[in-house]
């Protein structure tokens, strides 16, 4: 069978399949990201309520560095979420520059943590499995599964690795905001070890596993 015949057969087959598979355009990525962020925020708020707000939360909100910390994490999460849903489209709707935004925000956040560690002094805390690590798993498990589901449905990513990273950043940021509202470990090094690294680790593992879901 010549290659032209094979091509014609394939084209006819695909045309016939279009009948049962209406290729209706998927929703705009910003809308999809908004839905995910809303559900993620509701879940995080619910977990915060179950665990219980930290007793000094009102005092903390009067502190600039605490508000900056949370705001930066929140904005990073939003940026990564929107970028993730744009990454679900082969050409990202012409907005491939979006990929750099969450990376820059993550770099700023990392720099912020480093500055805090330097100014507060590097005193290694005693490492033990405290409630933060188990709560981190609670904060990240369902949002990670949900985000993987949303970004693998009606999706055709041409950058599966970057999509996995964006999902990891998004889930990490959301979980970080949640745990900073429940846990009173506030020194920079405690923050890094108990509030950032567990999420990053979970995000990386989830992202690695999730790559297979992005094959199409």
């Amino acid at each position: 069978m010549s290659s032209d015949n094979i091509a014609n057969d394939l084209i006819e087959s695909l045309t016939d399949e279009l009948d049962s598979q209406r290729a209706e355009s998927a929703a705009h990525p910003v809308l999809r990201a908004t839905i995910w962020l809303t559900l993620g925020a509701i879940y995080t708020a619910a977990i915060v309520m179950v665990i219980g707000l930290r007793p000094d939360l009102i005092e903390k909100f009067a502190m600039t560095d605490y508000v900056f910390d949370l705001s930066l994490a929140f904005i990073t999460g939003i940026g990564a979420s929107i970028t993730a849903f744009y990454l679900c489209i082969p050409d990202m709707r012409g907005k491939s520059w979006l990929v750099i935004v969450p990376f820059i925000l993550t770099a700023i956040f990392t720099l912020w943590i480093i500055i805090k560690v330097i100014t507060e002094g590097f005193i290694m805390p005693e490492l033990r499995l405290i409630h933060c690590l188990t709560e981190a798993a609670l904060f990240v498990a369902v949002p990670a599964a949900l985000l993987t589901f949303f970004t693998s449905k009606k999706s055709a990513t041409t950058k599966p690795v970057i999509l996995s990273i964006m999902n990891g950043i998004s889930v990490t940021a959301l979980g970080y905001v949640g745990i900073r509202m429940t846990c009173m470990l506030d020194t920079a090094i405690q923050d890094l070890i108990y509030h950032v690294l567990p999420f990053m680790f979970c995000g990386m593992v989830a992202g690695f596993i999730a790559r297979r879901f992005y094959q199409w």
Binding site: S3, I6, A7, D9, L10, I11, E12, S13, L14, T15, D16, E17, L18, D19, R22, A23, E24, S25, A26, C88, I89, P90, D91, M92, R93, G94, K154, S155, A156, T158, W216
Partner: protein, 179 residues
């Protein structure tokens, strides 16, 4: 070329509403275009047809991600570049497994200069046996026993198009496994 781009935008938009005629025309028009994009970038011209067909299937699977208010070509090129990179990555990773010892010069020469001998080192029947039963039956009937797609469809209670797509995908899978 400018008119082609506008036509493809409109054809893709119509295809998303289920217009089969528009979709058929779109696929027929982009097929030679994809080949022309791939020819200068691939070392082996035999790869172009296989990869073009894979890209066509990818276009079919991802048509719902095309935004009708945006140009079609950049969307198509993103898929072409992705599939080409994927194809070359798999191809070159497989080549690492085919390193022959240098003291077996005669064997190496046969392998390098006569691709037909590659089949002597592979068990085609074993690869067929590893396929799901229905997929294997369709492939064997169509490609080995010479049944038509219509005959297979009637016998196995499938649509003709499903039979053709199944056989095509099985062929690609065997090519990947057998080299």
């Amino acid at each position: 070329m400018q008119n082609n781009s506008l036509d493809w935008d409109q054809l893709a938009k119509a295809s998303q509403t289920g217009d089969k005629k528009a979709y058929n025309q779109l696929l027929k028009e982009i097929y030679p275009y994809i080949q022309n994009v791939l020819y200068p970038t691939l070392a082996n011209a035999d790869w172009v047809d296989d990869l073009t067909q894979n890209i066509l299937i990818s276009v079919h699977k991802s048509l719902n991600t095309y935004a009708a208010d945006r140009p079609f070509k950049p969307w198509l090129h993103a898929i072409i570049n992705f599939r080409r990179a994927d194809f070359l990555r798999k191809h070159y990773s497989k080549k690492k497994d085919k390193q022959m010892p240098y003291d077996e010069a005669l064997l190496e020469k046969q392998y390098v200069t006569d691709p037909a001998h590659a089949g002597e080192y592979k068990d085609i029947e074993k690869q067929l046996a590893d396929l799901p039963e229905k997929q294997r039956d369709v492939f064997v009937k169509m490609k080995i026993k010479g049944y038509s797609a219509k005959e297979i469809a009637e016998e196995m209670d499938m649509t003709e198009s499903a039979v053709k797509v199944s056989a095509h995908r099985t062929m690609n899978k065997l090519k990947d496994k057998l080299g």
